[in-house]
């Protein structure tokens, strides 16, 4: 069991009232899962993803990650967990414009204190695997959206995470590019990476092994 969420609540105070962003979420994710989260705007999809990704906290409930109680962990320990096991893919790619493709891939390794030669090997490996060796010295603005997202995924994978969290990874892409990215996810999942994605598209959601629907912060699994 990779993740276990039990009775997760999250709310904000607005005008003296509690507005619930997440309401009583219970979810178990096994290693090798591929989950799609769907729901209308404002239903709490991204919030849930951020909670799972430890970017955001919650107000009530328990969250176990590889049997570690995340809700009880100290900030430092949580950061280490996060660094080692989780990779993020964003709708807007979030590449650093001032860095080349190569440097963007290298960036997370700098913070994981890899040595220079290790970094070189890992980045070269990724470039190879994603077939973007020829693009390594280009800056993000010189790439198409699909290529940028490819780099974004490569960057998420470079630390060899167990879990990839993707927030509408195809939202800014055309349908063909989107399809390619989804195929890539499927392939990665087959290689053993656990994937949780947020999406609006039924078609993309169908790539997942499970689909979760959110409505007003409540979860219903199909």
């Amino acid at each position: 069991m990779l993740i276990k969420l039990s009775n997760i609540f999250k709310w904000v105070q607005q005008g003296g009232r509690r507005v619930f962003l997440l309401k009583d979420i219970n979810l178990v994710v096994e290693e090798g899962d591929f989950i799609s989260i769907m729901g209308p705007s404002g239903s709490g999809k991204s919030t849930l993803l951020n909670v799972i990704g430890m970017l955001d906290g919650f107000d009530e409930g328990e969250y176990n990650f590889l049997n570690e109680p995340v809700h009880q962990l100290k900030e430092k320990k949580r950061a280490l967990l996060f660094k080692q096991y989780i990779g993020f893919v964003f709708q807007a790619y979030h590449l650093i414009d001032e860095l080349t493709v190569y440097e963007n891939l290298e960036m997370p390794l700098l913070y994981k204190k890899h040595s220079g030669s290790e970094r070189k090997a890992l980045v070269a490996d990724m470039l190879d695997r994603f077939n973007i060796v020829g693009k390594k010295d280009l800056f993000p603005t010189q790439l198409s959206g699909g290529q940028q997202q490819l780099v974004g995924i490569a960057r998420a994978l470079i630390g060899k995470p167990k879990l990839i969290l993707a927030d509408e990874p195809t939202g800014n892409l055309n349908s063909k590019q989107g399809e390619e990215i989804m195929e890539l996810f499927k392939q990665l999942n087959n290689e053993g990476v656990t994937i949780i994605q947020v999406t609006h598209s039924e078609k993309n959601a169908a790539y997942g092994k499970r689909i979760i629907h959110l409505l007003d912060g409540r979860m219903e699994e199909i």
């Binding site: 049997n67 001032e98 913070y111």
Partner: protein, 806 residues
């Protein structure tokens, strides 16, 4: 399943280096994208640092006056009451009778004559000093040594400037200098490089013994009556000057004339305090300190503000890094690296600008300041401290926001929401503009005061009087020269273009520091009075167009003016004389020389209108030998002064070919008295321009920041029908109200500062509300321009663009 959280252990040094390289790479690429803001940022701080350093140099130089003397702590100058001239035999007596006095020297600086070497000849002011001069003071010798350099008669020590003037780059030691046109020579035994911040300055010094050989009259005036020498003493270590007060009183009582009745208060002024009490304008130093601190704070605040702004666009980058495992300290490390690099560049730029402007600054202030950080370590520390403060603050303040900012928010690009309190940045505007307005109004007031002083009627004729500086020392043949002077004066007097001519020892703007005590006969309001003395010839007052209030002004005629004097109004009032009718004053003592009052003249300005008119006494003087006079003044008929000047030049040329004449109009010497204030004016003006410039940069940055935040609001307003001018008004109002507030804060501070500055002047210009109004209009006008630059861009932008952002 047990999870293992493992940390790669890499070589920490290598890792540090990798991070540094990564940070610098990002930094320089970022600069490339934001050249504009980077330039503004570094230039602003650079200018601030340069100004601060220049002013610090000036202030430091002033505060470290005379420190180079090894005996700095123990040297005192003896004052005779308030004046610094003392009686000749005092010092030898002190050395003999007061054991606390371990060393001492006198300086006699009333001697001047022509000194020449080959064909180089100048009028020089030679100082005679006691042998101990070079052991009590520590002047650095560049040639020769401080061991008894003036022991032999006719040996002299000269300054490097003097050496350069006479000998160029040749070694000076052993060179001979001719005195006047006589066959008497001085021999150079040493050259000293007098530091620029020395109160004691000289061109050429020799011993008293030499002086008494050259001019035997010197011996005569070193008695217990005359005060012609400056005296310095060195006290024993740890002895306070008060300790010898009683002994000084005793010496006065026993020796000063008239013995037993003299009440002179001798006191010791520490060399430490000499410059600040006697020479320096302490108000100016305070003003400069305030300007320096004001400008550097404006610059630093701007820098921090601009840094925060220019990196705001990079909030997302920070967010991305955090998502990929960057810790708080990684982020702080990156920001600090950048802020220290930028501030270092600004520091270098500041040092360069300072070096560039130092010569101009020196000319402006008549100083010879040098930036020598290796000799004065304080100038290593100041830049380093500025670097540390600026780099640290501009790095730490944004990192606080960045590391604490909510990650999910920062990925959307808005981490600053509500973090930077708007009251904080607005108070910055208020402070900056208050400083700027104070400086602008200060500039205007100083200008008005200088203008007022120049325009104030000095009560003598400044338009038609031409003065000839006679420079008799230039000529070997005295008799011939004297005759020529007399002849020229006679010829001029007969010219139809001339109203009158007069010989004198002084002219308005140039009265020597010659005072004496006078005792009026009969019943009077004062028993005795101190008067400033001047010797003038016939027609002096007529020539200068000075109004006679009573009696006679030494007009040429058949009157015998022997012992006749003319008082100015101040002196007459002090003595209680309403009119001149032959009242008698005795000079020096009740039995002294008789002086008879024949006239009273108006309080004309003879030392600048910044001073109260001092009581003056003009003593009539006739000279057999016309080379004893200093000036020949000619009053031309209305409108003929230029023609007159031509004629004068001709006459001078035909009589003394080869010697450059010195002619000037009567107000020229007077206006030299205002030079200091013109300097202050220029200085304050320049730095207020800088302050305004820097404040505008800050405002510009704040405006652009705030406009960026309000893009959406502006878009919505425009979609709903707001016009461009309505938007402009809305945006500008927000900033201008703070500038207006600054204006009201600045007024009382500025008014108070002006009032204290004007306190030192006899003639005070009026502190007018127009000064504040003008300063306010300038500041607000510039602020409007600055803000409008930004707001116009925001107001005219297409609202669709702004609203698409979501």
């Amino acid at each position: 399943m047990k999870i293992v959280i493992e940390m790669k252990k890499a070589n920490p040094n290598r890792n540090l280096y990798t991070m540094l390289r990564h940070n610098l790479k990002l930094f320089f690429r970022n600069i490339k994208h934001n050249k504009g803001s980077f330039m503004i940022n570094t230039f602003g701080l650079g200018i601030g640092i340069a100004s601060f350093l220049l002013l610090t140099l000036y202030v430091h130089n002033d505060l470290t006056y005379n420190r180079f003397h090894d005996n700095y702590d123990n040297i005192y100058r003896i004052r005779d009451g308030e004046t610094v001239q003392t009686k000749g035999p005092l010092l030898p007596k002190l050395m003999e009778e007061v054991p606390e006095v371990v060393n001492g020297t006198r300086i006699f600086d009333w001697e001047g004559f022509r000194i020449s070497h080959g064909d180089k000849a100048f009028q020089e002011n030679i100082h005679y000093v006691d042998q101990s001069f070079f052991s009590i003071f520590s002047f650095p010798f560049t040639e020769g040594s401080d061991r008894n350099p003036i022991q032999e008669k006719y040996s002299v020590v000269i300054s490097t400037d003097f050496a350069k003037k006479y000998f160029g780059n040749e070694p000076a030691i052993g060179k001979k200098l001719q005195i006047k046109f006589e066959e008497v020579f001085l021999e150079v035994k040493g050259v000293v490089d007098i530091p620029s911040n020395s109160s004691i300055k000289f061109d050429i010094v020799s011993s008293y013994e030499t002086g008494e050989e050259i001019s035997p009259w010197i011996k005569g005036i070193h008695d217990w009556y005359n005060t012609f020498s400056i005296s310095y003493v060195q006290l024993k270590d740890g002895i306070a000057p008060e300790a010898i007060d009683e002994k000084l009183k005793q010496i006065v009582k026993e020796n000063y004339l008239p013995v037993g009745q003299n009440e002179t208060d001798l006191n010791l002024l520490p060399l430490q305090a000499y410059h600040s009490t006697e020479e320096s304008n302490q108000t100016l130093i305070v003003i400069l300190c305030i300007i320096a601190l004001g400008i550097i704070s404006i610059a630093i605040v701007n820098f921090i503000n601009l840094t925060i702004n220019s990196v705001q666009s990079r909030v997302k980058e920070i967010g991305i890094k955090k998502v990929h495992g960057a810790s708080g300290s990684d982020i702080i490390g990156q920001i600090l690296t950048e802020s220290f690099v930028v501030s270092f560049i600004a520091l270098l730029l500041g040092l360069m600008l300072m070096g560039l402007f130092l010569p101009t600054f020196n000319t402006l202030n008549d100083t010879s300041l040098q930036f020598t950080p290796f000799e004065k370590p304080v100038f290593i520390w100041i830049p380093l401290i500025i670097w540390a403060v600026v780099g640290g603050l501009s790095g730490l303040i944004p990192s606080l926001f960045w590391t604490k900012g909510k990650l999910t928010e920062s990925l959307k690009g808005n981490v600053f929401s509500g973090l930077r309190s708007s009251s904080g940045s607005h108070s910055l505007i208020v402070i900056q503009f208050a400083i700027a307005i104070i400086l602008i109004s200060g500039t205007l007031l100083v200008r008005k005061q200088v203008q007022g002083m120049l325009e104030k009627d000095p009560l003598f004729d400044t338009e038609n009087v031409i003065i000839t500086e006679l420079q008799p020392w230039q000529f070997p043949n005295m008799e011939n020269t004297g005759n020529n002077y007399e002849r020229i004066a006679k010829e001029l007097e007969e010219s139809p273009m001339v109203e009158s001519v007069s010989f004198s020892q002084c002219i308005p703007g140039y009265y020597s520091e010659n005072y004496n005590v006078f005792f009026p006969q009969g019943k009077n309001s004062e028993e005795s009075i101190h008067l400033r003395k001047a010797y003038v010839g016939a027609n002096y007052f007529k020539t200068f167009g000075i109004q006679q209030l009573s009696g006679n002004g030494f007009e040429k005629g058949n009157i015998n003016y022997e012992n006749a004097i003319v008082l100015n109004k101040a002196a007459a009032q002090k003595l209680g004389f309403n009119e001149a009718n032959g009242q008698i004053l005795n000079e020096s003592s009740k039995q002294g020389d008789i002086r008879k009052v024949v006239g009273i003249v108006d309080n004309f300005s003879y030392q600048g209108v910044q001073h109260q008119a001092q009581p003056l006494i003009h003593i009539f003087s006739e000279q057999e030998d016309y080379t004893n006079w200093g000036f020949l003044s000619i009053k031309a008929k209305e409108g003929a002064s230029l023609q007159m000047l031509e004629q004068l030049k001709q006459k001078w040329k035909s009589a003394f070919s080869g010697i450059e004449p010195k002619f000037y109009f009567a107000d020229e010497k007077l206006n030299e008295q205002y030079k200091e204030y013109v300097q202050i004016n220029t200085l304050v003006a320049w730095f207020s321009i800088l302050a305004v410039l820097l404040s505008c940069m800050g405002l510009f940055a704040l405006a652009s920041n705030s406009m960026a935040k309000r893009t959406k609001e502006i878009g919505i307003r425009k979609v709903n029908g707001a016009t461009i001018s309505e938007i402009l008004l809305l945006l500008n109002k927000d900033f201008l109200k703070w500038v207006v507030l600054a204006f009201f804060i600045a007024i009382p501070i500025s008014w108070y500062a002006m009032k204290s500055w004007l306190e030192g002047f006899a003639f005070k210009t009026e502190i007018n509300w127009t000064i504040f109004l003008l300063a306010g209009i300038v500041a607000i006008g510039i602020a409007i321009l600055t803000v409008s630059w930004q707001s116009l861009k925001a107001a005219t932008a297409n609202p669709i663009q702004a609203l698409k952002d979501e």
